[in-house]
Amino acid sequence: MGEILNKIYEMTAIGSIVADPRFLIMYALAFVLLYLGIKKEFEPLLLVPIAFGVLIANFPGGGMGVLGADGEGLVHYIKDGVEVSKNVYEMSLPEIAHDLGIMNLIYYALIKSGLLPPIIFMGVGALTDFGPMLRNLKLAIFGAGAQFGIFAVLLVASQFFTLQEAGSLAIIGGADGPTAIFTTLKLAPHLLAPIAIAAYSYMALVPVIIPLVVKLTCSKKELMINMKEQDKLYPSKTEFKNMRALKIIFPIAVTTIVAIIVPDAVSLVGMLMFGNLIKEIGANTSRLFETASNGIMNAATIFLGLSVGATMTVDAFLNFQTLGIVAGGFLAFGFSIFGGILLVKVMNLFSKKKINPLVGATGLSAVPMASRVANDIALKYDPKNHVLNYCMSSNVAGVIGSAVAAGILISFLG
């Protein structure tokens, strides 16, 4: 009887969990992330797959955790009771699936290959409307100001990490999940797990972080600046005779310009603009648009979320380096928001037409959540002050800005 009970004990994960209680921390983390995604509705489309990925990756014997390759590309695992070390980049996909499990197959085939981030950018492009940005073109400059956090944290992190690792950490300040993954894969692939999770978690926490930074840096008077009234006081001379043609030409032109100036950003910006182009052309490419924005985007999000979550195994996550990344990522995020706000404040000093600092705060990506959060803050101070359209301008520009910043980091440090 005792022997049977012992076998059952060994068969279940209980024995391993008792032997290494750190698993319980990972479950707690997964439950918190699930709570934030489901109950608090913080980016549920991302957070729920990631959190569930964390959960299923941390059951000993489940085989759903992603095995990170070391600097030489070696993965260490136990096969038929024998410890095996193999170069994962020399293993065939069926071998990875057979030896390491399906989660590793998804991870190495779709994420580690760098395939999914540009694919997701295509979907983001298909869901993005550049109309608000074109209508308020000048506000797009705040998409640059809000990249400050990336470079500020690069400076600080360079003292604790190698420059490549610091660059990967700093890109969290771009508030763009796919960009963070793409950059980390190029610069410091061994840090993908904590960086991806920090980037996505902070993106999900935009409704908490933006109000916090805004509260610390902006006065009530500034937050009550009504952009529509400013537009009436100082009307724009620009008129739009054919918005449709403009929206079609714009992605083609931007891709061309960015490709010439920062070639390393093309895989992200190019795919973003392609997705946008097939949206704007309309009926003739509607089938492509529907597939890019629904089928492909949703499938990519599921695979990305689950496998990124599954990289968060006990050994990969619970160490001081991860804590440094989590703290550094938060700083990068905060500094980026502050950078955008600061640029608005400086411009307001020299301009008659005042700008609400919330428009600067949304210069970091996280489209469209950052704009929605900023709009809610503005409405709290003045129920008639709708800043959404203005924020979308800097917000969308922030996507381009962070992709360019990523391109620069990859160019220099890759």
Partner: protein, 101 residues
């Protein structure tokens, strides 16, 4: 523009850099990075304005006369909406005037 060449010539192996060297390189990267992001977005703003002018000049849409016609809501539908509001609010609220926006 190949940035690799510029930096790698100045800094051989990144792992061998001292903290001060890394700081200087990060500072340089900050200056170049922020400048490039600003320049790219300024170019995009300039390009956007140029495109707006070009499109306005060469592809202006034919202005279609906009006929605004506010259709009156059928009396039966109005009555049904009023009754529904009364029923849903439990008689606490009622509608006086229903218009199409």
């Amino acid at each position: 523009m190949n940035f690799n060449v510029i930096l790698l010539n100045a800094a051989p192996a990144v792992e061998q850099l001292s903290n001060w060297d890394k700081f200087v390189e990060a500072l340089l990267l900050m200056a170049i990075g922020m400048l490039t992001v600003f320049v790219v977005l300024l170019i995009i703003i300039f390009l956007g304005n140029l495109l707006i002018k070009t499109v306005n000049r060469f592809f202006p849409e034919e202005a279609k006369p906009v006929v605004q016609k506010v259709q009156a809501i059928d009396a039966n539908v109005q009555e049904a909406i009023k009754k529904a509001i009364v029923a849903i609010s439990g008689g606490k609220q009622s509608a006086q005037n229903i218009e199409k926006l």
